[in-house]
């Protein structure tokens, strides 16, 4: 009954919240969860700190959609922005909740 799916975790600046959400909806994610976060990376802690906290977006999707999302956010627009993403394998019970009927 358990179905394997992919969890995509994206960390970026608050500024790009809507951009990323648009990508997710676009690529067919049925939902996502967003938490506020602070971070430190190649740009240092300070910059992110000042421009408001980072956000962490998690979405559970099929592996194909996961690839599409990763491709989109590693595309040209985000080349120079602070966007970090990784995927991992998860199991869900009611898979129909995570897959678009259309």
């Amino acid at each position: 009954m358990k179905t394997p799916l992919t969890l995509v975790t994206i960390i970026t600046e608050f500024l790009f919240k809507e951009k990323i959400r648009d990508i997710l909806r676009d690529k067919g994610a049925t939902g996502h969860t967003l938490t506020n976060a602070q971070g430190e990376g190649s740009r240092g802690a300070g910059a992110a700190d000042w421009e408001g906290p980072n956000i962490k977006i998690e979405t559970v999707v099929t592996p194909e959609i996961a690839d599409a999302i990763l491709e989109a956010i590693s595309g040209s627009y985000f080349q120079n922005h602070s966007v970090i993403a990784w995927t991992s394998e998860v199991n869900v019970l009611r898979a129909e909740k995570f897959v678009n009927k259309t």
């Binding site: 500024l15 506020n36 240092g44 300070g46 408001g52 120079n80 922005h81």
Partner: protein, 324 residues
């Protein structure tokens, strides 16, 4: 000199210094991000409201010359900043443009601090000044971004798209939005209806500013650590620019017919560097520009410079102009 000391020893400036000390002694003091956000919403909305009430008592004729002067400075200061930063400061086109956008815009907190100093000196500042803050905030950022744009054609298209987004980010960004929104509400409500909300938006204002500067001090202290990377040439720029812009701005305010207090505040506005609206716009339109440069200069050098030396100096200059 006495005025300078007098200015430095006020709860607002001392709170800023206390915030810096908090970082230096590695205190675990932290103002939650949400509280910081709430404080800035309060401050911007309150400035807007008070400005709007003042506007409702100002005639349009009184406004025309100050408005024109503000637009003029909004266009001119990013240019002069760009020139200085890319020649003496040795910055590349992108970083120079990004930083120029900050110096072309205005820092609301510097504006507030200048108002306080003027009040403390028992002088008056024109009521329409908050409206000028809103007017001054946008054009400088646009000019700065244009200066930073690549000349190449292929890139230009991509740049153009971002420029539009960046301008939207500034105009619909919370700082301008609250300022203008508050101003409209204040102007529509007028003094009588405003009286009902005044105990919340007027009396506690300066105390809230105190807490805000406590946090700002902590952020600025972090930035100061980046000064070494910035280099002494940039630090010099960060002091010369507010001074030069500030003096010319004060003169402009005087010529536009402002009171001495108003001219000094106007000079401080022109001399100040934005660190709320501009960074957001620059992040979007110029992701390659280094925050380690523009934020450090705006918040780590120019803001403390204005707070400590710039504002009292401009006030003296305004008084001198008035007595000519």
């Amino acid at each position: 000199m006495e005025l300078l000391l007098q200015n430095l020893i006020s709860p607002v400036v001392l709170a800023f210094i206390l915030g810096m000390i908090a970082r230096w002694v590695k205190s675990d003091l932290e103002i939650p991000a949400q509280i910081y956000s709430a404080l800035s919403i309060y401050l911007l909305f309150a400035i807007g409201l008070k400005g709007g009430v003042a506007l409702s008592q100002t005639s349009i004729e009184q406004l025309i010359r100050p408005m024109a002067m503000t637009l003029l400075f909004g266009m001119a200061t990013p240019l002069s900043a760009f020139l200085l930063l890319s020649s003496f400061g040795r910055l590349g086109r992108i970083d120079a443009g990004a930083t120029a956008a900050h110096y072309g815009s205005v820092s609301a907190v510097t504006f507030l601090a200048a108002l306080e100093v003027v009040k403390m000196a028992n002088m008056e500042a024109d009521g329409f000044l908050p409206a000028l803050v809103a007017v001054l905030e946008v054009p400088g950022i646009i000019v700065g971004l244009l200066l930073a744009r690549p000349r190449g054609n292929a890139e230009k298209v991509a740049g153009a798209a971002s420029l539009r987004e960046a301008v939207h980010e500034v105009v619909a960004g919370k700082s301008i939005f609250l300022l203008i929104g508050g101003m409209v509400i204040g102007a529509l409500s007028g003094p009588e209806k405003f009286a009902g909300v005044a105990p919340f938006f007027v009396a506690p204002f300066k105390g809230v500013l105190c807490l805000f500067l406590l946090e700002l001090g902590m952020v600025a202290a972090k930035r100061l650590g980046d000064l070494r990377c910035a280099g002494w040439r940039l630090v010099v720029c960060g002091c010369v620019l507010p001074l030069a812009h500030g003096l010319i701005g004060t003169l402009g305010g005087h010529l536009a017919g402002m009171t001495p207090g108003g001219a000094a505040v106007f000079g401080a506005m022109v001399g100040s560097a934005s660190y709320i609206a501009a960074p957001a716009a620059v992040r979007i339109a110029l992701p390659k520009a280094s925050p380690g440069i523009y934020l450090t200069l705006a918040l780590g050098v120019t803001f403390p410079f204005n707070l400590s030396v710039g504002i009292p100096l401009l006030l003296c200059f305004a008084q001198y102009l008035a007595n000519l």
